[in-house]
Symmetry: C2
Subunit: 169 residues, 2 copies
């Protein structure tokens, strides 16, 4: 499969997972959290999916398309390893849906970031909230959800925020 | 339609148009010409479609994925307004398929570039060659071809190199 084919499948997987997640969190109150703005394409899609919700955006430096710049009061500017803990007062236990796509193009760097971020993202999510993520995340407060049809396992990930899962007896 | 939706459709249109073009140029000899390398995704796709052909690549500066760097002898490095005329000795009337996607994200800049490049690209193409282009091009040596099913008119373009079309009498 060419990189073009693979990229199209990844974007389609992202869109399908966001659609499923949007349905799942329909009954939940709370803002949306976009972890990584990039060029703003997914942010624009989130605005369409969630016209009534605040969409907070984490980004180190904004280089998005001019139509896709979040309002300053919803922008958490800086390294997510700093901004997510700092946002706990504002967002802790409130976020209904979060989306993580570091989009580094470097699988190893993306996995390392996911490992660092998982314990920082989970406390921001309310119980039942959904996290849509390109890299896999592991923390005992996130339960893996089934992927929508057509999305190959591992291409994208869906998680639900649960109470800390007890170790199996 | 969100920018994510629009981007997915553009990539799908590109892939469909390249598939049609590959069939059309099957009987023609000649190299492939990628006008703009970018991250190298489409170049990688062209390598899959044309494993037996040389793929020449025009790019100002190479910033592609390490797996998608063309061999130095097939790379035309510099501004296409300079490199295309200079390549006429090597490629003039030989290219079987060319693909143009400036990918500037700026529609006006893309159209201006297309206007400047059309008269430089046409002489490189052999008769019957196909040009797949994101921006529309107009020169009387390029005849518009029908788009594959599912591609909205204007989203991508297919042209065939013909003898200079005579003005209608």
């Amino acid at each position: 499969m060419s990189r073009l084919d693979s990229f199209i499948r990844r974007l389609e997987a992202q869109r399908s997972c966001l659609a499923v997640a949007a349905e799942l969190v329909g009954p939940l109150d709370g803002p949306v959290l976009e972890l990584g703005l990039g060029n703003g394409r997914t942010y624009d899609h989130l605005r369409e999916l969630f016209p009534e919700r605040d969409i907070f955006v984490c980004e180190r430096e904004v280089h998005a398309h001019p139509d896709c710049i979040p309002p300053a009061e919803l922008l958490l500017l800086g390294d997510m390893r700093d901004t997510l803990p700092a946002a706990c007062g504002l967002l802790g236990g409130r976020v209904a849906l979060a989306h993580l796509d570091p989009g580094t193009g470097d699988a190893a760097a993306s996995r390392a970031l996911a490992t660092a971020l998982a314990p920082l993202i989970a406390p921001l999510l309310r119980l039942g909230a959904v996290l849509v993520s390109e890299p896999a995340l592991a923390t005992d407060e996130l339960e893996t959800l089934p992927l929508p049809p057509g999305v190959r396992p591992g291409r994208y990930h869906l998680y639900r925020r649960v109470s800390r899962i007890s170790p199996r007896s």
